[in-house]
Point group: C3
Chain length 138, copies 3
């Protein structure tokens, strides 16, 4: 049994969901871990990791619209140093997730049929986002 | 140290929370892992895994009512292929969780006094839900 | 490769976020694990674990204000045995998180520049909160 670390860089271009399922699976393939778990950890406080329906782009747009309305840019925030999308990005992150741990069997993540892994970007400007992966297993 | 995989099937009958704490503990007992971690992973995008107060059914009904109001069925969603409860189910899932990792000591999950593990069903129709468990430890 | 368990007690004094990043790192230092993962698990249903922006106290106050408005104490809850902050505390917990798993490389948690680990207290009265840590690695 061993530990394998790996990193992904995800380039984002505004508020949206960016699928990273295949990138994560590629890193697992390279790690040689066939049986165990993969922890996916986003190293930021203004974007999130989320599992999501991967077949329907309209569903993803509805998720984005929902968060836009739930955590509006024009609310009265005390912290607004970096523009109107700054504070909502931190709140969206708290409402969603930073890490997920996914089982690996026969070298493959055990996702359900419609499950994809997404980086959920909450900032307007382009960013390079770092995602740390740790595989534990044989 | 070893890896042990196991699966649960949870039959749901409409929007509600279904406790699976004892089912998860049974699978840990069978795995023989006495010291380590258990990752619980729901393989769906229209139901969630959540920890919850396990002693008060009224508290669970209040949680369900809150989500019904926060993510209403009658909002104007672009994605509505599978009926009015489809899109809200994906948003509820993003707002909650897909996996949790729980410590195991002396063969027992280290839950707090009032903590239970629940599958949170977001669809109206009956479903068979798959939960993948991975134990890592001795 | 081994498993190391450890516990933190966090004293809280009302609704707020309490940073525990250094306490978690101290326990990892003591565990001797230099390469692996750390699972942080909160053993309660009325407070949460959350990653958050650690440099701006105003950002944390905005998060707290947001949750106060999203899950108000004066809504009409069925479960109110323990006062007006009881039911909102369980809903806030469901909307946030109970566990996170963080990578460890060279003995250090691989957090991003602005990431801190926080206990998010949802009750008004002072509490002693238990956080269970499990390190898996070499």
């Amino acid at each position: 049994m061993h530990i394998h670390h790996s990193q992904l860089e995800v380039r984002t271009d505004g508020k949206a969901t960016y699928e990273i399922t295949n990138d994560v699976q590629d890193k697992i393939d390279k790690s040689g871990v066939r049986n165990g778990i993969a922890t996916i950890f986003v190293q930021h406080t203004s974007c999130s990791l989320t599992m999501m329906e991967n077949a329907a782009p309209a569903a993803r747009r509805d998720v984005e619209k929902f968060f836009e309305k739930l955590v509006p840019e024009d609310a009265d925030y005390e912290h607004d140093d970096e523009g109107p999308d700054d504070m909502p990005s931190h709140i969206r992150m708290v409402l969603t997730r930073t890490s997920e741990t996914v089982p690996i069997v026969d070298g493959k993540m055990q996702l359900g049929t419609w499950q994809g892994i997404f980086l959920f970007e909450h900032r307007r400007a382009p960013h390079r986002r770092r995602v740390h992966l740790t595989m534990v297993g044989d």
